[in-house]
Symmetry: C2
Subunit: 352 residues, 2 copies
């Protein structure tokens, strides 16, 4: 396979911006009146609706490892992570803003591939790139994404509305992204230990579902809107740090506790098999694994049957209870586990 | 002077976020319903108004030199640059979003100083930090800022509304920031060439106005609103790249030409003196110097007298004419200069 490497200097900043505009202009949103080309983008919010805005920074070798994250994957993931935050508010995404810091070891082709998948992933949900900034970077690639959306006030779902008696629900299945990450890291290690041979074939067969979930996650934008169309969502968060961590965020914001049942926590068969290969409990992947981008939400018990007709996979996994914020996981064959502190990845954590 | 250096690891990501929240919570805006602590911020736009959004990335050693940019200056400048873009749309800033990539050579004190001046500068104009993201960075400091604001549709000023016959106006004076930069670079060079002695005194006396303008620029948020309250602004841009470059942006967006008169271009006496010390024409600083963050706008001729009552310094500097986009500068003592291509700084420019 031949790989073209056109240095960014051969097109310059303005040349790059032209390429971006051409890729971004494949999509449009009638609420976005003006995109790139002025001091600021101009949007016409629907009168009466609320605006929501989220932002994320991705830095090479901190958030992603280029040895197994292609530019296409990175572009989709950068969009998906932010769209997932918009979905977690029950909102509809409208416009995205992207800043890129680009080192000279990044080619025009790489950036185009990134931007192509980034804009396409946004475009699936009617969201358009409306602004951005492009700069040189002394090291690696820096990506900052901000996405804005809107939501009817009565449909807004925050982290703070859970009440005792609520059913805790989750979309999709959990731990799958972490299983994919473990396979990628294992194959990278094998490749490095074999001396990086040009004919190396990574052992990816049979892992499609976990690799796909890790590399090309899909935000639950449409499912979130379908849920809030049918019922009133009391509280919602997206699962990006892992079930325990995000459940705790929701409990602390709402001032409640959650009691979850192991047997209801959805885990895909390939996730189970992968966890066992790594001598880990599949449940641990589901509880602690990050980047699933599923929705975790709480609703009144008698609303649950109204979700049966929805396509997509929604499962009740426990209950909200009154009390000090904590998460109890009721195990089938062992004592219940209780979590009251965050266990997710923390930047700048003190090394032991 | 004793300088405290508390490593970020001693407070961790969540400790840092707590410090940020405490600094940010000094300011509030009734349109911002929910700030940090959920999947996204929630804003209530004024029904009927348009939203504007701008974003900027700042990377250490690309956009700022830490040897003469203190964290306090950087914080204000990061806010001011984005507020200036909001002002250039005639809009009122509402909320800001900040992503920080922080290397381990940056202390808690440095980041607090940055955040303190960043939030204070926004707060002056009623703008609050409503969200952000914090990450480790392998090298230096990375700052991404997005600011949103709102504007009545009839007051929106874009780059594309200039028409033949318009008077071209500018706020404040030009080239002053560039003069400040030249002094800073000269003193840094002296310091380095002297072997970086601990008792080095930079020669800053008499340069207050140019240094202040470069290090602590003030966006024209209030003046912009006062202008659009009195008259209909046909087109507007902020001067961040230099007069010629930004005038050309406006001309290209509007499909018109501009004819400017040297004698009307406002230049501060200290800017003049500084340019001469560097054996440069003061006019060159005004035409090409960046980061003045003044407003450049065009209005109908008979509206100009309506601006007389405004505080602040507004000057007519030329005319909009029909024709191919270009900028003519009519000189007093030499032939007119004509610019039709951008001359501003371009990232990834090809080295000759």
């Amino acid at each position: 396979m031949e790989i073209n490497f056109t240095p960014i200097t051969s097109v310059g900043e303005f040349g790059l911006i032209e390429k971006f505009n051409s890729l971004a202009s494949r999509f449009a949103n009638p609420k976005v009146l003006q995109t790139i080309g002025d001091d600021a983008a101009v949007l016409r919010p629907t009168p009466g609706n609320l605006s929501v805005i989220t932002t994320d920074i991705l830095i090479q070798n901190v958030h992603f490892d280029s040895s197994y994250t292609s530019m296409r994957h990175l572009g989709q993931k950068a969009a998906a992570a932010n769209l997932s935050d918009i979905a977690a508010m029950s909102a509809v995404p409208t416009a995205a803003f992207i800043s890129l810091g680009i080192h000279s070891n990044v080619s025009v082709e790489m950036i185009e591939e990134f931007y192509d998948s980034f804009t396409a992933e946004l475009g699936k949900f009617g969201c358009v790139v409306a602004g951005g900034d492009t700069s040189a970077s002394p090291v690696g690639l820096v990506v900052n994404v901000a996405v804005t959306g809107e939501v009817e006030p009565e449909r807004l779902a925050t982290r703070s509305g859970a009440i005792a008696g609520d059913v805790v629900c989750v979309t999709g299945d959990l731990g799958r992204s972490h299983a994919g990450l473990m396979v990628l890291q294992r194959e990278k290690k094998r490749y490095v230990e074999a001396g990086q041979p040009p004919d190396f074939t990574p052992g990816f067969e049979g892992y499609d579902s976990v690799l796909q979930k890790h590399l090309l996650p899909e935000p639950r934008v449409e499912l979130s809107r379908s849920i809030s169309e049918k019922i009133r969502v009391h509280s919602m968060i997206d699962i990006s740090d892992g079930l325990i961590s995000d459940m705790l965020h929701l409990c602390k914001s709402s001032g409640v506790a959650a009691s979850l049942d192991e047997e209801f926590i959805p885990i895909d068969p390939v996730t189970r098999r992968t966890a066992k290969e790594f001598n880990e409990e599949p449940l641990a992947y589901a509880l602690r694994g990050g980047e699933d981008y599923e929705l975790l939400f709480t609703i009144a018990e008698n609303d649950f049957p109204k979700l049966f007709s929805l396509e997509g996979y929604i499962r009740p996994i426990g209950r909200i209870e009154a009390g000090t914020p904590k998460v109890t996981v009721n195990r089938k064959d062992s004592p219940a586990e209780i979590y009251s502190d965050f266990i997710s990845y923390q930047h700048f954590a003190k090394r032991k």
